[in-house]
Structures are given as C-alpha cells and as structure tokens.
C-alpha cells in the first residue's frame, strides 16, 4: 500500500502544478512526470505491457509532439508565458471540478466493491498477443484504420497553407 500512496501523491502533485503553471513549457515538462507516474501505477498493478506502452506513447511521443506544437505556436522567446485567465472562469471551473470529485468520491466510498485479495496478477505479453489477434482481431483492424486516417488527416490539416485571397462571389 505504501508504494501505491507514493505513486498517487507524486502523480497528483505534478498534475496539479502542471495545470496551474503560467509557463506552458513548464506545464508540459511536469505533465511528463504525471504520465511517468501513471506508468508506475500500471507497473504496480502488474500490467507491464501497458506500462511500457504508456512510457513509449506518452512520455516519448505525445510529450514531444506537444512540445513541438508549443514551440511552433509562439512568436517570441518570452511568448510561452500565458496571460492570466479571468477569475470568474477559473472559479466556476474549480466549482464544477470539485463538485464532480465530491460526487464520484462519495459514490466510491459508499459502495461495497468486491475485491480479490492477494498479490498483483500479471498478464504475459503472449496472452495479450493472442487476445489481440484472436478474439479482438476486428478491433485491431479498426484501430489500424483509425490511426492511418488520423495521421493522414493531421498531416493534411497542419500542412495546408491558407489561401491568400478569396474572391467573394455574389
């Protein structure tokens, strides 16, 4: 239970600080810590393959893509600092998030959940592979199609130059 509490504390602390920082690059670098903490949670739970996928995809790929987007969308070196948000907006966001958390936490704490006693269960990569290729083969094909379409669409959206002039036809 102690490692779990440590993982939870580190992950939540980095997430809170990342979401409240004024500097966008600091936010992304702290979120890498959050994603690594989530991967540590997967390792704790015995899902090693998912932990490695999380490390590769989030800590490795998504963070780099987000950092590149931050660097491509700022005009000067100091532009990564954000102008402060309006207080009313932040206040209402905190009210909504706090209410959602209270509701979910109350539901979780007041429910008797059947839990298995004992150590972490592990799943081998072979089991995952036979699962993916056997009973979930159709979903695997659909995921491949989704990734292809999404990446092609991302390239098309990001690479298309806007038209310079546009004649307004009457």
């Amino acid at each position: 239970m102690i490692p779990l509490i440590l993982i939870v504390l580190v992950t939540l602390a980095t997430a809170v600080v990342a979401m409240s920082r004024r500097n966008l690059i600091h936010s992304v670098l702290l979120l890498i810590g959050t994603w690594a903490g989530i991967a540590a949670f997967y390792l704790w739970a015995g899902a090693e393959f998912v932990a490695f996928a999380q490390m590769l995809i989030y800590v490795g790929a998504v963070s780099m893509v987000v950092l590149f987007a931050v660097l491509l969308t700022r005009r000067s070196r100091e532009d990564a600092t954000l102008i402060p948000e309006s207080l009313g907006r932040a206040f209402s966001a905190f009210i909504v998030a706090g209410l959602a958390f209270g509701l979910v936490a109350f539901a979780v704490l007041s429910t008797q959940l059947p839990a298995r006693k004992g150590g972490a269960s592990t799943i081998s990569v072979q089991q995952i592979g036979t699962g993916l290729m056997g009973s979930h083969a159709a979903a695997l094909l659909v995921i491949g199609l989704i990734l292809t379409v999404a990446l092609l669409g991302a390239v098309v959206i990001a690479a298309t130059e806007p038209r310079e002039s546009e004649e307004d036809a009457p």
């Binding site: 239970m1 779990l4 939870v8 992950t11 939540l12 979401m19 966008l24 992304v28 979120l31 994603w35 989530i38 949670f41 739970a45 015995g46 899902a47 998912v50 995809i57 989030y58 998504v62 893509v65 491509l72 969308t73 005009r75 954000l82 948000e85 907006r89 932040a90 209402s92 966001a93 905190f94 909504v96 706090g98 959602a100 958390f101 979910v104 936490a105 979780v108 704490l109 959940l113 059947p114 839990a115 298995r116 269960s121 799943i123 995952i128 993916l132 979903a139 995921i143 989704i146 990734l147 999404a150 990446l151 669409g153 991302a154 390239v155 959206i157 990001a158 298309t160 130059e161 806007p162």
Partner: protein, 105 residues
C-alpha cells in the same frame, strides 16, 4: 474510515480526472485544454487497470486490451488536436480559444 486499495485507486483516478477537468475548463490556451483532455483519458485508463487488478477473475485480459486500444485512440486524438492547433495558429496568429470564433478557412 477504512479505505481498501481498490477504493484508493478509484479515488486516485477520479482526482486525476477532476484535475484534468478543471484545467480544460479554466484555461484558454488550446494546448493546455488538450492536455487536460489527455489527463481525463488517462484517468479513465487508470480505472480499467484498477478494476482488472482487483477483479475476481484475473485470467480475463479484457481490461488490459481495452486500455491498449484507448491509448492508441488517445494518441491519434493528440496528433489531430495538435494539427488543428497549428492550423488555427497559422490562421489567426494566436491560439486563444476565445479568439477562434470562426472555422472558415
């Protein structure tokens, strides 16, 4: 109060979800809103893994396989979202959400 490990995992994921929700609702920078959405997706994955870890039938691998699919879809969503951010920046030279009021190319 006695909190079981499963309840601790569920509280963890709901706290992460609400942090992402607060970030997505309160910030006006498009990239930060996208990161908040990513945090919410990660919180959902945490729930799947927690329920799989404490499920009465540990042989079932459905939770792990669902998380793998969810991670793949989240990666595709991040790629498309950041491409949209770059397109919006190219169009109006800033990425504040309040200024993105038209989609006309």
């Amino acid at each position: 109060m006695n909190v079981t490990p499963l309840q601790l995992c569920l509280l963890f994921s709901s706290a992460l979800f609400c942090i992402g929700l607060a970030g997505a609702l309160s910030r006006s920078n498009t990239i930060l809103v996208l990161l908040g959405v990513e945090l919410m997706l990660n919180a959902a994955n945490l729930n799947f893994i927690a329920f799989w870890r404490f499920s009465p039938s540990p042989a079932a691998s459905t939770g792990v396989i669902f998380v793998i699919f969810a991670i793949a879809v989240a990666a595709a969503e991040a790629a498309v979202g950041l491409a949209l951010v770059i397109a919006i920046y190219r169009h109006q030279k800033n990425i504040r959400l309040q200024d993105a009021t038209q989609l006309r190319g």
